[in-house]
Symmetry: C2
Subunit: 408 residues, 2 copies
Amino acid sequence: MSTPTRDDAAALDAADPLAAFRERFVIHDDPVAYLDGNSLGRPPRATVERIHHLLDVEWATQLIRSWEAGWMDLPEQVGDRLGAAVLGAAPGQTVIADSTTVNLFKVLHAAAGLSPGRRELVIDEANFPTDRYIVEAVASSLGLVVRWIPATETAEAGVTAEILAPRLGPGTAAVVLSQVDYRTGYLADLPGLTALIHAAGAVSVWDLCHSAGAVPIDLDRAGVDFAVGCSYKYLNAGPGAPAFIYVAERHLGALAQPIPGWCSAADIFAMAPVYERAAGIRAMLSGTPNVIGIVAVDEGVNLVAEAGIDAIRAKSVALTTMADRLARDVLGLSGWTVASPGEPTVRGGHVTVRGPGAASVTARLAERGVIVDFRHPDMIRLGLSPLTTTYGEVWTAVHALADVVVGP
Amino acid sequence: MSTPTRDDAAALDAADPLAAFRERFVIHDDPVAYLDGNSLGRPPRATVERIHHLLDVEWATQLIRSWEAGWMDLPEQVGDRLGAAVLGAAPGQTVIADSTTVNLFKVLHAAAGLSPGRRELVIDEANFPTDRYIVEAVASSLGLVVRWIPATETAEAGVTAEILAPRLGPGTAAVVLSQVDYRTGYLADLPGLTALIHAAGAVSVWDLCHSAGAVPIDLDRAGVDFAVGCSYKYLNAGPGAPAFIYVAERHLGALAQPIPGWCSAADIFAMAPVYERAAGIRAMLSGTPNVIGIVAVDEGVNLVAEAGIDAIRAKSVALTTMADRLARDVLGLSGWTVASPGEPTVRGGHVTVRGPGAASVTARLAERGVIVDFRHPDMIRLGLSPLTTTYGEVWTAVHALADVVVGP
């Protein structure tokens, strides 16, 4: 394959079966290239309309009546839709709630509660801060030990079976892994690692923040135990929109949920003197659902469902392949390298390059209307969001990057 | 004082110094009386415009750049505004985050962490479910004991010093109280009870859900240790909008926060290998802030600040006094009674009546366009929201109630 030209990019855009989806989002001419949909996706037009409707009709005219008329069911209802379209989860196992941080705290307590005799939590040092902080906090709270997978071991190819296996044993309670590494973009073998974790008698907790909506996920088939993730990246639900929780049906019967609130009680409006946990996934709720946020998740999920996750993944692979190829070719002698895997089967939805002065390079690109994502200390993530990112944007962004770091 | 007539109500509305604020909200002709602003306040026009701007400009055009341009500072910034206008809190002690449930979980851990030798948490049985459930959960998690104040003792006059004092001692770690009882509307003596709690060497945790925005609060002057509350009642921030946390400055130095996330780390974007807590109130954050929700809190707070909490309280007292008087007079022989205190100095922003068939009465009132709030098993709350509720609505609602339960 030769280095893609601007004409190649234009031809790919012209032939893109998902091209029409771009019209479903609010997109302006500036920035000229937005490669940060893996941090904050663009606003879907349907979301803007839905929120207007929520404000003008559901809130302003129906007022409190809207809770009974539908709002109260949204966490589970949209959870089921997300489960079907994005997670490979049958109904009754997914709920929209809180933030990824809070949700990870809840499911990790629930996970550790399943096997009180096992005293170890496993996580990789390269995992996202929230994941590491929560693992440490829960371990400290429950008197468990954290077994760290050193970052040096995962730098080459992420968390593999060979790396994980020696950390598992009869003392392992739970393993927390991200399906896609937030920095390098490594795509972990979710089914294979889950099977390995189960073989050790432990439970799996997957963070899907960087994979939900970009990569096909089949939690039920893989037998995943618990999962969490956010909605504002590839699901395009907006800044700080609520996150999701997946709990495999087999664990719903005996769930240790550390933050019981009025919305996780069996009969919400009984306001009973003694707490009785809701049956099913609603037990993972805590306080009052964030309605505006949940409807935004709903609209984001609808778009993924309509496009189909396989078509999204196909375009994602094409976009990342182009970004990877361009970066390797045009950044050649600049001191910049590609930190993401070259093989698309082990790569998620973004391509990360690293080099000197990455922070100031990011700022200089922004001045040209090219938005990329700096990660401390030397990385730039090129986030490629299949429903909105064009091949032309990839071409423009990587060439702008080359201009800045190599010179024209 | 004679029973207020419809003309009296009209005269009070005509002379209401806050009357103009009603124009600042989106209000339709149906329902004819909305007495449920203590469950869900009405939408301020400024909130609708602000959310449009957020969607159309900040999200759609600025995209990820908005985080640095201001979104990241919103939790503390709006927290400070809420502190100043509503809580009597100097800057740096209030943050907008999560739900009341999650926030209570956090502050109760922090509160218990201040005095590891003390093993008791005190709460009243009549407190809101979330408060009771969280107290039990935290006690169970930390190996503490819950000392319950029986509901029979607080039925007459809420939690008083006489009732609380015998529950306090050298073993008391923290006391969780609601400033306004969600069912009866009793307004607790926040400064007095806080002083009593301190005299026992314990820390105070106040739930302000039913008082914030309706009752003057002076947390700093009272020396309150921790407080939480929601924003969707008298602060009118919309369904499931985020809650707030107040931590007195003297406790910010050594804060045990059980749900540390990337947003409570000292340097958010360093994504450091070792968790270092943020200095100050930001340490109480966990995950990504809910931006749409926080700007809605901001606009709700702005309206309270503009009206002034003293003017709001004055109208609140006048509204509840009218509701109380009307209910006592026109429900006389119906078997219905007023459950709220008759004395306004110990009454919050709602008046609760109780009687047979309260659930079906609520439904029949709704058919007439009169929205009140049923509470299991036999209560109807008349929620009076000073920025939007008219005296005419109170007159209409209580007479409709009398029509339904007594007959015309």
